[in-house]
Symmetry: C2
Subunit: 208 residues, 2 copies
């Protein structure tokens, strides 16, 4: 693997600091300092912190695109599916826990998040259709599918904020949301769907 | 009904302005102006904005205490139960949509919210027990009860933020969460539980 470009290095460092210290407490100067480069060098790539945040969001987006990218003929296992989204929600956790602060500092981010939320909802609804085609989910009425989609998104997207409020936004806790997501889906699963989940758990048991 | 005290008037005015304009955009001076009193008069009751926010939270708390205050012998109808919480979530909506901003300005609020969240979770779990006793819900395994409790709280508590991200935090939209909450409960309801909900809907139909 080639070493990351200077631009990528800046984004990696910024993301790490945002996650650890909260983005409000991290300036472009701090990021440059942590990298041992001059602020001028950083400004060559990004004129201000807002540009860095937007670039991190671009990257998060590209990663998220892959989460739901499958069809009923190439179904990932439930755990591997959930692990993909887990990686995303841990790596980019400051987006969820600081959302409102970010919006206040940069209203254009709110607009972007609004559009992303609508996109996510469409992807989740599509995924439910794929799981239905694959015989994992029972056929759902349109209205229920819409509501289930919203509930899946709200539990996923606000789980980190839920943890942060109690001061327990840690990696292990972030992963815990898997059980909450499965609890939303299970009542609508076919017998084959339940077997699909159990198979996954057994497999994990063997590895453990 | 006696007229509200000056103290209550301040809280009513502040809450209205916070909800309409966002608390960050409202100062104690704005609140005094809107009431046609001097800032000095306001400071006699509240030394600063943080004290007003804490007092509003006290009031919200007292209101919320009533939401889940029932036992299996005096079960409210599902809609009246949900209407109680609906009132709370609309009247005090800035708390949900601005949570993180409030925490940044006043860390003691975060600590309060953390404790309140734990309290709410206990109340919801207790309510599930009451619904089970009343024959509305099927018996749930402890683990599932815990997860269902979290999902109910997350969908309830973050619904306004979910709407705000898309710029549609309006009263009618806030009420929409009822369907999302029922969708979480229905898979675990007995036949009697489902009938309990349908009865409620029919009753609404008659009134309409």
């Amino acid at each position: 693997m080639s070493s990351p470009s200077r631009r990528d290095e800046i984004l990696n460092t910024a993301l790490k600091l945002f996650n650890e210290q909260g983005s409000a407490n991290v300036s472009t100067r701090h990021i440059a300092e942590a990298m041992g480069i001059s602020p001028g060098n950083l400004y060559y790539y990004f004129p201000h912190k807002e540009a860095i945040i937007h670039a991190i969001l671009d990257r998060a987006e590209a990663l998220f695109e892959e989460v739901y990218d499958f069809d009923s003929a190439h179904l990932p296992s439930p755990k591997s599916l959930l692990k993909r989204r887990e990686h995303y929600f841990w790596e980019y956790r400051f987006f969820q826990s600081e959302m409102m602060l970010l919006f206040q500092n940069d209203p254009s981010l709110k607009e972007r998040f609004g559009k992303l939320q609508q996109k996510r909802l469409k992807e989740i609804e599509k995924m439910l259709g794929v799981l239905q085609e694959a015989g994992i989910l029972r056929p759902l009425k349109e209205e229920l599918k819409k509501i289930l989609t919203q509930n899946l998104w709200i539990v996923s997207n606000f789980w980190n904020l839920f943890l942060e409020i109690e001061g327990r936004l840690f990696e292990e806790e972030t992963k815990g949301v898997i059980e909450n997501i499965l609890a939303l889906l299970k009542p609508h699963m076919t017998r084959e769907g339940i077997a699909w989940i159990l198979l996954d758990n057994e497999h994990e048991g063997v590895k453990a």
